[in-house]
Assembly symmetry: C2
Homo-oligomer: 341 residues x 2
DNA sequence: ATTTTTAGCGGGAACGGTACCGGGAACGGT
DNA sequence: ACCGTTCCCGGTACCGTTCCCGCTAAAAAT
C-alpha cells in the first residue's frame, strides 16, 4: 500500500521478464496458460494497477476530453451533464474549464488543456471572443475539435447547435399569433452567433407577417438579468413602447419581467413576454414565462457522441453539423387569446 | 506542426546533449549564456513545448485535481466555479465527475480518477452513499483528500462545510420570532449529514423556545421538488396542519410553495415558509421565499485553498475543518410581523 | 537423421524529460 | 610546477509500459 506494484515487481517475484508479464496481463499471444495464471494471481494479490501515466506517455493519448465553456449556468451545466454522461460511458474523463465569459481566460484554458495533452476539445466560446487564433491552433495540431451551442461559423469542424433561427421564428410567430404588433427583442452581444441567429428568425418572421422592424425595438445588451431590466425600463419609457418583448435568454426575461411589474403593467394583457432556454424558473414565477426549449441535456449528449465518433474514425470526412430543433412552451406571459389553448 | 518538437530535436540541431538543452531551458546552473540564448531561440522558433505527459510520468504528479460531486445543481455549480477559480490560479486543472446521486457511479468515478493518477481529491458524497470504502481507499494510498459540503463525519480528513446546525437554528428561530408555532420540516434522506445537522438546529431551537417537536411534522423525503410537493400536500391535509414549513433546500421550498398555492393558502399570513441555499429563484417567485444563504462560491474557493495548502505542506497536521457561517435572507414568505422590517 | 516450424520467453529500445555524476579545460593560488 | 576550484557540458540511468527482435528447446516435417 506504500508503493503501487509495477510490472517489474511481478516479473522479479516470478523470475520472469517484464515482457512476459506484460503479455500475460494483456492476454496476448505467445504465453503458456500456467504462466498467465500465475501472473494474474500475483497481480491480483498485489493489487496491481497499470500505470496510466506510463501508458498515456507511451501511446500519446490521455483518454481525457477538454471542455471549455463560458460559465456554468443552467443551460451549460445541463449540457456538461450530458457530455459527462456519454464520455464516461465511452471511457473518457472530462476536464471542464470555465472561461467566465472572458476572452483572456478562454485562451489560458486552451493553453492549459493543450499542454495537458487532452485527446480533444469540446468548446463553446465566450461572448467576448471575437478572434479565434487559439481555436485554430487546436486544429493546426490536428487535435479533434467539436464546437457546440455557441459555435463559430468560420471555423471548419463538426458542430452541434440549436436551430436558433427557428427558435427566433417560433417565438416571434407565437407573439404575432397572439395579436401583438410591436414586438421588441432583447438580444445579446453583437458578435454572439446564437444571438444573431435568433434575431434573424425574429426579423424574417416580422417581414413575413408584413411588419416592418423598428430599430428602436432591437436592443443589444449583456447576457444578464440586470442589463435586461434596465433595457426594458427604457423600452417601456418610449413614446411608442412595444406591446411585447422577446428575450433571447430566460435570465433576461426575468429582468424584463421585473421591469414590467415595476411599471405596473400586466402580462399578457398589457404586454407579452417570451424567453429562451425554458429553464425551470420560467414555470415558477408569476405569471409563468413562455420560453423556447433547447434540449440542453440532449445537446450535450449529442455533442459528446459526435466527438467520440470523430475520435474513432480516422477518415477525414466532411464535418457534420448536428442541428437540434427547438420547441416553444407557452405560458401565461404571452397567452392572450383563449382560442389557442 | 506535424510533430511536436522535443528536447532531442533541439539538441541534435545545436549539437548539444539533451541535458544541456534541458538545463538551458530551465535557466539552471552551469550553463553559458550564449548556449542558453541559442537554445531558447531555437526552442521559440520550433514552438517547443515541454511534454507534460513525460513530466507527469517522471514526477508522478499530474497537476490535476479530481472533483466528485453528486450533481451540477445551482449550489454545486457555484462551488465548482469557486474551486476552478482557485485551482487555475494555483496551476491545477480540475476533473469534474458527477455521481448523479448514485453510489455506484460515485465508486466508478473514484476508480477512474484514482488510476488517472490525480494529485488529490475534492469530494462531496452522494445522498445514496452509506459506506465509504472507496473514500478510505483514497486515503490508504496517501492521496490528499478534502471533503466539502456533504461531508462524512467518520472520515478523518480536512473538511469544508457549512455550519448546518446554525442554519437550522436561524431559520427556525426566525419562524418562531414571526409568531409561528407549529413548524414542520422537510428534511432530506435520513443518512444525509447536512440534512440531519439542519434538523438538529431545528430541534434544539424548538426545545429552547419551549416547543415540543411533533414527529408528524418531520418529513424525510428526496432532495427533490416533486417529493416536496407531495409531502407538503400531505402535511396540509392533516387534522392539525403546520402553520409554517422549513425546507432544507430551495428546490424543496418551491415544491412546498406549489402545494401551498394549490391549497389556496397565503404566505405569510396562513403559512410561513423558509428555504435553504438562497438561490436566485427565491427572490423571483411570488411571494419571495426566505432562505438561508450558504455562500457556495466562497465555500468552493475555501475548499480549493485548503486543498492546495494541504498539497504544499508535507507535515502531517491535524485536519482542519473550515466552517462557513450561514445567513438568513428574509422575504415575503415568512415576514408576518411588520415590527421586523 | 536432419531440417524446419513453433511455442514460450528474454533482452533491449523507445517514449521525453530530469537528476546525478563525472570529466575536461581554464584559471587562480601557492 | 602542482593542486584545487570553477565553469560547462556530456553520458547514463530512470520512470512503467509495450513492441520488436532474437534466442532456445521441443515438436513437427521431410
Amino acid at each position: 500500500m506504500e508503493k503501487q506494484a509495477t510490472i517489474k515487481d511481478i516479473a522479479i517475484a516470478l523470475r520472469l521478464s517484464k515482457s512476459t508479464v506484460s503479455r500475460a496481463l494483456r492476454d496476448a499471444h505467445d504465453i503458456k496458460s500456467e504462466t498467465k495464471e500465475a501472473v494474474k494471481a500475483l497481480a491480483a494479490q498485489l493489487d496491481y494497477q497499470p500505470n496510466k501515466l506510463a501508458l498515456s506517455f507511451l501511446n500519446k493519448q490521455t483518454h481525457t476530453i477538454g471542455v471549455i465553456i463560458p460559465n456554468l449556468d443552467y443551460v451549460l451545466s445541463t449540457m456538461v451533464k450530458g457530455i459527462d454522461e456519454v464520455a464516461l460511458e465511452a471511457g473518457y474523463t472530462v476536464m471542464v474549464c470555465q472561461s467566465d465569459e472572458s476572452f483572456g481566460r478562454e485562451i489560458v484554458n486552451t493553453k492549459r488543456l493543450l499542454d495537458s495533452l487532452v485527446d480533444g476539445f469540446i468548446v463553446s466560446v465566450s461572448s467576448e471572443t471575437k478572434v479565434f487564433e487559439h481555436i485554430k491552433k487546436i486544429q493546426s495540431k490536428n487535435i479533434p475539435l467539436v464546437l457546440f451551442d455557441r459555435i463559430v461559423s468560420n471555423i471548419d469542424c463538426p458542430k452541434v447547435r440549436l436551430d436558433n433561427v427557428a427558435g427566433g421564428v417560433i417565438a416571434t410567430q407565437h407573439l404575432i399569433d397572439q395579436g401583438y404588433k410591436r414586438i421588441a427583442i432583447l438580444a445579446g452581444p453583437e458578435n454572439l452567433n446564437i444571438s444573431n441567429k435568433r434575431m434573424e428568425g425574429y426579423l424574417t418572421t416580422l417581414s413575413e407577417n408584413g411588419i416592418k422592424p423598428d430599430k428602436k425595438l432591437i436592443i443589444h445588451c449583456d447576457f444578464n438579468q440586470q442589463y435586461a431590466y434596465e433595457a426594458t425600463k427604457e423600452l417601456l419609457a418610449m413614446k411608442h413602447p412595444p406591446d411585447s418583448i422577446f428575450t433571447i435568454s430566460d435570465r433576461m426575461a426575468i429582468g424584463a419581467m421585473l421591469a414590467i411589474k415595476e411599471k405596473g403593467l400586466r402580462m399578457p394583457t398589457d404586454i407579452g413576454l417570451v424567453g429562451f432556454n425554458n429553464e425551470p424558473v420560467t414555470s415558477l414565477v408569476t405569471p409563468g414565462i413562455s420560453s423556447v426549449e433547447m434540449y440542453s441535456y440532449e445537446m450535450g449528449k449529442a455533442t459528446a457522441r459526435l466527438f467520440i465518433e470523430m475520435l474513432h474514425s480516422n477518415e477525414v470526412t466532411v464535418p457534420p453539423e448536428v442541428v437540434i430543433k427547438p420547441k416553444l412552451f407557452v405560458r401565461e406571459s404571452s397567452k392572450r387569446l383563449a382560442s389557442k389553448k
